[in-house]
């Protein structure tokens, strides 16, 4: 597989990931998403305290190719944002699952986490996307 798809996080069909840590979900972009976007030059983060809604735009990622919405994987209240990205958005390219995390959210509905794809399901999804 060309893309790095890791265990321990859940994926959306729009290529975001979410990792549950207690009642909090850490949210970011998958390796596939950062590869398709190309070099990321700017990130617009939500304010802490913002209510995000699953499937709706929650942050804006701008690359040399395009401007894309980061759709919230789960609904909830933003508790922390990765301010490092404001100065170094390219971290999303180099470390999408680690230092490139985008924001943390207090999960409103645990059920939404289980609706997301796990590693094998997402791998299959990405292969299909790539072959389309």
């Amino acid at each position: 597989m060309k893309y790095n798809i890791i265990d321990g996080v859940k994926y959306t069909r729009k290529h975001e990931w979410a990792r549950q840590e207690g009642s909090i979900a850490v949210v970011g972009l998958s390796d596939y998403a950062q590869d398709k976007l190309g070099e990321i030059v700017f990130v617009e983060l939500p304010d802490v305290g913002t209510e995000v809604e699953a499937g709706k735009g929650s942050a804006v990622i701008e690359s040399v190719k395009a401007v894309a919405d980061l759709y919230a994987p789960v609904s909830g209240t933003v508790t922390e944002i990765n301010e490092e990205l404001l100065d170094q958005p390219e971290v999303i390219n180099s470390d999408p699952y680690g230092d490139g995390w985008v924001y943390k959210v207090e999960i409103k509905d645990e059920g939404q986490m289980s609706d997301l794809m796990d590693k094998p399901a997402y791998e299959k999804f990405v292969v299909e996307e790539d072959e389309k």
């Binding site: 030059v41 190719k65 958005p89």
Partner: protein
């Protein structure tokens, strides 16, 4: 040929001169007597010192680096610059037009007013709209004007709930920005697998908060929205209005009209439709036309005629106000009107025919080599996907650079977003078959180069003054002016 990258500031030598001032024929006075200390410059001016011939060579050389439709093929889909016949320039340069003053009294401006009046009549006929404002300076400016008129219309009826504007995924790129600028929320409408607006999804998205649907028809995929009549009906039934982005009007002149399709507001990008300069390079024009019920909200002044005399009508109490100083870019209106009259109704229709035939011809050549995701008869433009090439190691952006190496302006890349690795190609109506053949041959050569050595293509261009620019740094920390090294 000399291809220096040096800036003029880096070229001078201390003491070199291009001009000598004559000796002063009034007595010298020390600067201190004329200006207080705090107003005197204390540091060096830092101007470059060069001879006349060095300056002339520098700027002449820079001028040869321009690439425009007057120097070569320019298939920049959606933003295409159509060839501007030089007769347009001649008309706009007529002394009676060129030396007019915008504050000249109406009685002394009758000819100019008559031209604006007649231009408006022509636009009305072309689009089936009831009135036009000629003020907006470009397409995007027209969009904002049009949405403000729509906003004024809803508010005037006391309908304050409508805060959303629907935009299909295949829309013109400026539309979402305009919607935000006008204070509306964007609601995206998906496309179906034909690349057309998904009518059912549109119907689902409509409700009593819908202010308008903004639609480009034909779309940025170069496809005509065949279901426009049921779409218009659905939007109107929900109480919304239809906004026509005229970016692609050049494909349908004389064949169909936005007003007949059910649109309430139209803007025209006259650089493409009526062969004037582009709003981005300007000065440009983006006239906005409306149906009867929206006329009261148009910007002031409108040009009207009473007892065989033309005048500016400022008596429009519900107008959104002015959107441009004076009456818009008058010279551009002269150029567009000249084109309209030179072509005539049949000629404009022929221009659309030629634009569509050229696009379909080039598409049929290129789809032999490249992947065409929406393989249907197109209108004025079509979108290839360089996804297969990307997998080999060189994508849409690399193909664009390779075209530069071979003397062609690249197509629009990475847009529209619904096609991955998009190459959006619009040849326009004036290009000869030989030019299209030459472009297709070069594209095939590039595809072959990618098969043989994608890595090499991914590092081009090789023949241009500068090679790969650092796009990331340009976006994140642009250097916008020269600064002297300290």
């Amino acid at each position: 040929m000399r291809k220096s990258k040096a800036l003029i500031f880096e070229m001078g030598r201390t003491g070199r001169q291009g001009y000598s001032l004559p000796s002063n024929d009034v007595p010298d006075k020390p600067l201190g007597e004329l200006l207080p200390d705090k107003m005197q410059r204390s540091c060096d001016l830092g101007l470059p010192e060069l001879s006349e011939v060095e300056i002339i060579r520098h700027f002449t050389e820079l001028s040869t680096r321009n690439f425009g439709v007057d120097t070569g093929f320019y298939p920049l889909g959606s933003c295409t610059m159509k060839y501007n016949p030089k007769v347009n320039e001649e008309a706009a340069a007529l002394p009676g037009f060129a030396f007019m003053h915008p504050c000249q009294p109406q009685q002394a401006s009758q000819g100019a007013l008559e031209l604006l009046y007649n231009f408006e009549q022509g636009l009305k006929e072309l689009t089936a709209m009831d009135r036009f404002t000629l003020q907006p300076a470009a397409g995007a400016h027209g969009e904002l004007t049009g949405l403000m008129v729509i906003q004024a219309y809803h508010r005037h009826r006391g309908d304050h709930k409508r805060n959303k504007v629907l935009i299909p995924l295949s829309a013109h790129g400026t539309n979402p920005a305009t919607v935000s600028m006008a204070g509306y929320e964007v609601v995206q409408v998906p496309c179906d697998d034909r690349g057309l607006v998904d009518l059912n999804a549109l119907k689902e998205a409509l409700d009593d908060t819908t202010a308008a649907l903004m639609l480009t028809n034909p779309s940025t995929l170069g496809l005509f929205e065949e279901e426009i009549i049921p779409m218009a009906r659905a939007v109107h039934e929900a109480g919304g209005l239809l906004y026509y982005d005229g970016a692609n009007m050049n494909a349908i002149m004389g064949y169909t009209r936005p007003g007949d399709m059910g649109f309430d507001v139209v803007h025209l990008n006259i650089h493409k439709t009526l062969s004037t300069p582009h709003g981005g390079g300007g000065p440009g024009g983006g006239p906005v036309g409306v149906k009867e019920r929206l006329i009261p909200f148009l910007p002031v002044p409108l040009v009207d005629k009473k007892n065989e005399e033309f005048y500016f009508d400022y008596d429009v109490p519900d107008s959104i106000g002015k959107v441009h100083a004076f009456y818009g870019n008058f010279g551009v209106a002269v150029k567009a009107y000249t084109y309209m009259r030179m072509m005539g109704a049949e000629g404009l229709k022929q221009a659309s025919t030629d634009a569509v035939i050229n696009a379909n011809y080039l598409m049929s050549l290129l789809k032999k080599t490249f992947y065409l995701p929406y393989d249907r008869i197109c209108k004025h433009e079509f979108v290839l996907s360089a996804r297969p090439e990307k997998k080999k190691g060189a994508g849409a952006g690399d193909i664009a650079k390779a075209l530069l190496d071979r003397g062609f302006h690249p197509p629009t890349v990475y847009f529209p977003l619904i096609v991955e690795e998009a190459l959006m190609i619009e040849p326009t109506d004036t290009e000869a078959k030989e030019t299209l053949d030459a472009f297709a041959a070069v594209m095939e050569m590039i595809a072959k180069d990618i098969d043989e050595d994608a890595e090499k293509v991914a590092h081009g261009p090789y023949n241009t003054v500068v090679g790969r620019l650092d796009e990331v740094r340009a976006a994140r920390s642009p250097i916008l002016r020269w600064e002297k090294e300290s």
